[in-house]
């Protein structure tokens, strides 16, 4: 059952190198749980031996105790039997205890490995460049943490111990069978061969149709998703019947493949069971003949034991073939997990750091305390001398070229100059490159050519964390995190006091509504702040930036349909936030643009006009067109 489910889920793609992946995974498991694994190995072995001893008991029971009773006419003496039962009971206890223990250890190992994998995945994910998130569907990333990890759980906790267990069992049972009777062992082996062949062909058919089912399921899934998303449109256009018809076609296809896949999968059980029974019968007949002739001292008790072994031989062989299949399938998940782990993290060669400074005798001195003044600590690589440059918020772009891929440049020769405290506005149509420019300042992406300087230092030399700490950012779509309102505002500055938080909230016009929330600043936010309105979430995002108190600010004005009153409140708090800071704003609102020190008009990745509002109106170019609403085309 479990094997089938796995096949359904992860049967999509064949893994190129399952052996290599398995080795890597096993190494991962061993790394932290070496002793545990060793113990499990030993315990499984002990369990198997105990079990075989138990089976041997049945042989002895008849041959050594019961048959003598029947043959001798004396008063039967049960003491030897009692002793034998006592002995076998010990074996049984050892078997049970070792099975329990190895299961107990495996729970720890499995869950522990999964936890470590999850943690490492997440840790690594946090270091990946933005580009990774741009190029991978979010659903796919999520599914690594859930589906793929889950598949591994099945594999580590069940498949692998079972393969080991079955391996031991096969060997020990085989040895016992050979000791008991060689001709019968040969008969059993032939039947096992037949069984493996039948299983393989049924499993092969089943697998083929499972792949098809997976494909059809994907098609049905996609169709449902699209239609459910557009259900209201379907209603408005009375398109229900057409949609139903289309769905029926896809659904019927899915049925056919699911039917076939499951049919072949269901054949496996009876084929194995009945072939096992047939093998049993054949051994019984051959063994009966042998025992009757007394060939090679083969006894009735021997036959009884052999028949038990016959059963316990075919079972593990089936298990191994099934589990091996499951393991190969689980490797598809392991591959995705390791692929994420192997992604190259964001490179950071920066060595210029941000430190607190105090001024003494006109010179900047590094300080361990919070002084409220910051400086770039520049250790020159050539001679090891140290420079301190005060953090002011001066940003220069010099001939910057950028493309998300090397072969497609989207920004060409961007030049701009922002003095501390200046406000720079970017305007232009969708796709002109406004957001892209702002993403370069904090090095979400690295440029292909040119230089970006921050307070005269090439941003490539600044440690990324410190660079980003010195920049405040308010994005167009607000993202909040699970946690209290207070924690969300504190997001940008871990050591912010409650007073600082309240001050930031007041600056952002958020204090009022926060106080009206049921638990005020301690109200829990969940699901990206789903319990707040769009406007309130934006105010929180502004407060979050305000608490950092950065010298440079990047603002992406929201364009979503917010009513005029809320918009005015947001505008007010944004204006307050911008005061006294170097601000790069992707502007959508007239007032913001007009109040800017410099306006950059972008078109297709180039700055085509620059200047103040008055200058640009004078020029009667693209800006004039945009401003007067005479432009055409999006």
């Amino acid at each position: 059952m479990a094997g089938m489910k796995q096949r359904m889920r992860s049967g999509k793609s064949a893994v190129k190198n399952p052996g290599k992946l398995l080795t890597r995974l096993m190494k991962y498991v061993f790394r932290e749980y070496k002793l545990h694994c060793l113990l499990v190995f030993v315990l499984i072995f002990v369990g198997v031996i105990a079990n075989v001893q138990g089976t041997m008991f049945t042989k002895n029971l008849i041959d050594e105790y019961i048959t003598p009773f029947l043959l001798s006419s004396d008063e039967p003496n049960f003491t030897p039997l009692a002793k034998a039962i006592g002995r076998v009971a010990v074996f049984y206890v050892v078997g049970v205890v070792s099975v329990y223990l190895y299961n107990w250890i495996m729970v720890k190992v499995t869950q522990g490995v999964l936890r470590n994998l999850r943690n490492e995945l997440f840790e690594h994910m946090e270091t990946l460049p933005i580009k990774y998130f741009d190029t991978h569907a979010h659903g796919d990333i999520m599914s690594i943490y859930t589906n793929d990890i889950d598949t591994l759980r099945q594999m580590i906790s069940q498949s692998i111990p079972q393969v080991i267990n079955s391996g031991f069992t096969i060997v020990s049972v085989f040895v016992s069978m050979v000791i008991l009777n060689i001709p019968l062992t040969l008969v059993t082996l032939v039947m096992v061969g037949v069984m493996i062949y039948c299983t393989k062909s049924a499993a092969g058919q089943s697998g083929k149709y499972f792949l098809e089912q997976q494909k059809n399921l994907g098609a049905v899934n996609g169709f449902i998703e699209e239609m459910m998303d557009g259900q209201k449109v379907v209603k408005v256009f009375c398109h229900e019947e057409e949609t139903k018809k289309e769905f029926k076609d896809l659904n019927d296809k899915l049925f056919i493949s699911a039917d076939r896949a499951n049919t072949y999968a269901n054949y496996l059980g009876p084929i194995n069971a009945q072939l096992g029974n047939i093998s049993y019968v054949i051994c019984a007949i051959v063994g009966g003949v042998l025992a009757l002739n007394g060939a090679g001292g083969f006894t009735l008790g021997g036959l009884a034991s052999f028949l038990t072994f016959n059963k316990s031989f075919s079972m593990p062989i089936n298990q191994i073939s099934q589990q091996l299949n499951a393991i190969v399938m689980a490797m598809a998940g392991a591959e995705r997990i390791f692929n994420l782990m192997d992604e190259k993290p964001e490179a950071d060669d920066g060595y210029v750091t941000l430190v607190n400074v105090a001024e003494e005798n006109g010179e900047l001195i590094e300080s361990a305390e919070r002084t409220g003044r910051w400086a770039w600590k520049h250790v020159h690589q050539a001679d090891g001398s140290v420079d301190y440059v005060e953090l002011k918020g001066n940003v220069v772009f010099d001939g910057v070229d950028f493309g998300y891929n090397d072969d497609k440049i989207v920004l060409h020769d961007v030049k701009l100059y922002a003095e501390p405290g200046q406000k720079i506005a970017f305007v232009g149509s969708t796709g002109a490159g406004k957001t892209t420019i702002t993403n370069l300042i904090n090095r979400f992406y690295d440029i292909q050519d040119g230089k970006i300087r921050y307070d005269g230092i090439n941003v490539n030399k600044i440690k990324k964390d410190d660079l980003r700490r010195s920049l405040g950012i308010v994005l167009q779509d607000t993202h909040l995190f699970t946690g209290t309102v207070r924690e969300n505002i504190r997001f940008g500055k871990l050591d912010a006091t409650d007073e600082e938080i309240a001050a930031a909230a007041k600056l952002a016009n958020a204090d009022g509504f926060i106080r009206r929330l049921p638990q005020g600043y301690d109200t829990m936010l969940t699901g990206d702040g789903a319990n707040l309105s769009q406007g309130q979430r934006q105010l929180l995002a502004i407060a979050r930036a305000a608490v950092v108190d950065p010298p440079v600010l990047i603002l992406d004005e929201a364009t979503s349909s917010i009513d005029t009153r809320t918009e005015r409140i947001i505008q007010e708090s944004m204006d307050r936030l911008m005061r006294g800071r170097t601000t790069f704003v992707i502007a959508h609102r007239l007032s913001t643009v007009r109040n800017s020190d410099c306006i950059m008009v972008l078109e297709q990745g180039r700055i085509i006009e620059r200047g103040t509002h008055e200058q640009l109106i004078e020029e009667k170019g693209k800006y004039y067109q945009l401003y007067t609403g005479n432009s055409i085309g999006a």
Partner: protein
């Protein structure tokens, strides 16, 4: 709940009945084998009768072959029944959803419906197959084995009966206990997923604020919680296997001891004892299987509930008995209309709405978020039913019309609009299946969509991806308008439908609509005053009520809200460029 689902078995009823029948047949065959075994040993081997061994051995082979045939037939029908059941369930749900009104659709989230139609149905399919194949098989196997055992030796078989009772009870408690932990684990799992989700979608914020370490720490906590709860849950489950072993071993020892004594006094034969030992496995394995079936079933109850919720949801908006098939004109009247989304909510969304709109008028609607502009227009095409009062279209209550006729003549361009996978032409023809290429182009011209379509290399054959993600927001909106125009409606509703279109194009579209389809009543909801100020009359909505209704001039003079909005938008508060985010 379950019965509602079972109604969908339909044409697979025969397969559903055949499956357990064949499974029981397989069980009978399997049970017969140890019995025949005993007979071979006792009457064949011990009596030295080789012919007897051949005879019974042959019989056993036939039995095994029959068992194989029955087993495969059971598997075949089980697969057919369950896959067919799943197919019917999906179809029933999908058809049901197609009858939903907007109110019904609001109740379920898109993601929720997708899960219900896929994962939940798959769960039920699995559980159904398991039930058909195992639910009858396991008890039957146990009972048969039990009967055989009792017929061999009732006294010794009592051991099995007691073992089954004890093992059954203990298994029950273990599973119940473990299920409790597993249920606790789900919310912990959700919390971890939320943490991943948050970080994936808001990675820019995390990186911009250099929060990687704190977020990682948060995730570690969530991950550790899952570790703890799962270890607890699994530590219960791992008792199952050793417990089973203890029971089997105890039975073997007891049977051996008492059996040996019985053999000595000749009330039991060696062969019979061998059979008894073989049945031991049959009985206890069946019990184990049965417990697994119960686990599967109890895990699928959540899915069953979620599916039946979809199937039981009924739409309140139904076609009237003798529907009116013709909409006379585009006039709209609201008479004392009150409306709430939920019947029992105290504060209605719309109250005391009285409007009289003449056919062919252009009406602008403006108001803050939450002022119920969208709710107002949704009542016209009967996407929702009024709670009180009535809405008249073409002089008749909307409830008297055939729904399809009404919605064809009242064409709404929704605020949240989507395009579907297919060519541009395919999408346009949603408006009218029989529209010619020329008609489609004409509609695009009116909606100012022709200019960008002509620039696509494939023009009108351009493939639109799911949700229309390969065209920009403004282009999507214009295609949606064109699609709505193809209905040749008497009333056209544009619900914030040009928000992503730049001001100039917006004006151009309005001009085209005014000139080319002058007889169509047009309702335009907008955020921008510029989009509505040329309308014949403008409705100002405020908190579910009509605050003002008149021309631009009248409202500017007399309506405070309107004036306020107007001033904020023209004196440095308006939009600078087009709306809609960066691609």
């Amino acid at each position: 709940m379950v019965r509602r689902l079972l109604k969908e078995v339909k044409e697979y009823k025969r397969a559903s009945i055949a499956t357990p029948v064949f499974m029981i047949l397989e069980v009978l065959m399997e049970t017969a084998i140890p019995f025949l075994m005993a007979s071979i040993i006792d009457d064949g081997v011990n009596a030295g009768d080789m012919n007897y061994i051949y005879k019974v051995g042959g019989l056993m082979l036939v039995t095994a072959a029959l068992g194989l045939a029955a087993g495969m037939a059971g598997g075949r029908f089980g697969a057919k029944a369950s896959a067919g059941f799943a197919k019917n369930l999906r179809e029933a749900m999908f058809s049901r959803i197609q009858t939903y009104s907007f109110a019904n659709i609001d109740k379920f989230s898109t993601a929720g419906l997708v899960t219900r139609l896929t994962t939940d149905v798959t769960n039920v399919q699995m559980a159904y197959q398991m039930t058909l194949r195992m639910f009858m098989r396991a008890p039957a196997s146990m009972i048969c084995a039990m009967i055989m055992a009792f017929s061999i030796n009732a006294q010794l078989s009592m051991i099995y009966l007691i073992a089954v009772l004890i093992l059954g009870t203990v298994l029950f408690f273990i599973i119940r206990h473990a299920m409790g932990y597993f249920e606790q684990a789900f919310p912990k799992y959700d919390a971890m997923n939320a943490s991943v989700q948050e970080n994936v979608s808001a990675i820019r914020v995390v990186k911009a604020y250099v929060r990687e370490d704190q977020e990682t720490e948060k995730f570690h906590r969530a991950s550790e919680n899952i570790y703890r709860i799962f270890v607890k849950a699994e530590n219960n489950v791992i008792f199952n296997a050793p417990l089973m072993m203890i029971t089997v071993y105890t039975c073997i020892i007891l049977i051996s001891w008492f059996g040996a004594k019985m053999i000595v006094v000749e009330s039991l034969t060696t062969g019979e004892m061998m059979s008894l030992l073989a049945y031991c496995m049959n009985i206890l394995m069946s019990l184990m299987m049965l417990s697994m079936v119960f686990v599967m079933l109890s895990m699928s109850t959540a899915s069953i509930r979620r599916i039946s919720e979809v199937l039981n949801e009924t739409s309140e908006i139904q076609n009237p008995e003798n529907p009116v098939m013709e909409v006379a004109d585009g006039s709209i009247v609201f008479k004392d209309v009150e409306f709430s989304y939920k019947k029992d909510s105290e504060e209605p969304v719309l109250k005391q709405i009285n409007l009289d709109i003449k056919s062919g008028e252009t009406i602008g609607i403006i108001g803050g978020t939450g002022s119920a502009k969208t709710s107002l227009v949704n009542l016209i095409s009967r996407l929702y039913d009024v709670t009180k009062g009535e809405v008249l279209v073409g002089g008749r209550n909307v409830k008297e019309y055939d729904i399809e006729v009404l919605r064809d003549k009242v064409s709404a361009v929704l605020q949240k609009n989507v395009l579907f996978t297919g060519s541009i032409l395919d999408n346009l023809r949603w408006g009218n299946l029989n529209a010619t290429d020329e008609e489609c182009m004409e509609a695009c011209r009116l909606a100012c969509a022709d200019e960008f379509i002509e620039r696509f290399p494939m023009k009108y054959q351009t493939h639109i991806e799911q949700g229309g993600n390969n065209v920009s927001g403004g282009q999507k909106q214009r295609l949606c308008i064109a699609r709505a125009l193809l209905k040749k409606p008497k009333i056209l509703i544009l619900d914030d439908s040009t928000s992503a279109v730049d001001t100039a194009t917006d004006a151009k579209i309005r001009r085209a609509l005014g000139e080319e389809i002058p007889d169509t009543t047009k309702l335009i909801i907008a955020q921008r005053i510029s989009s509505v100020q040329d309308a014949d009359r403008i409705i100002v909505m405020d908190e579910g009520e009509v605050n003002g209704f008149g021309t631009h001039k009248e409202l500017l003079d007399a309506n405070e809200i309107y004036r306020e909005v107007y001033e904020s938008q023209t004196k440095g508060g308006g939009d600078f460029d087009e709306k809609g985010g960066e691609a």
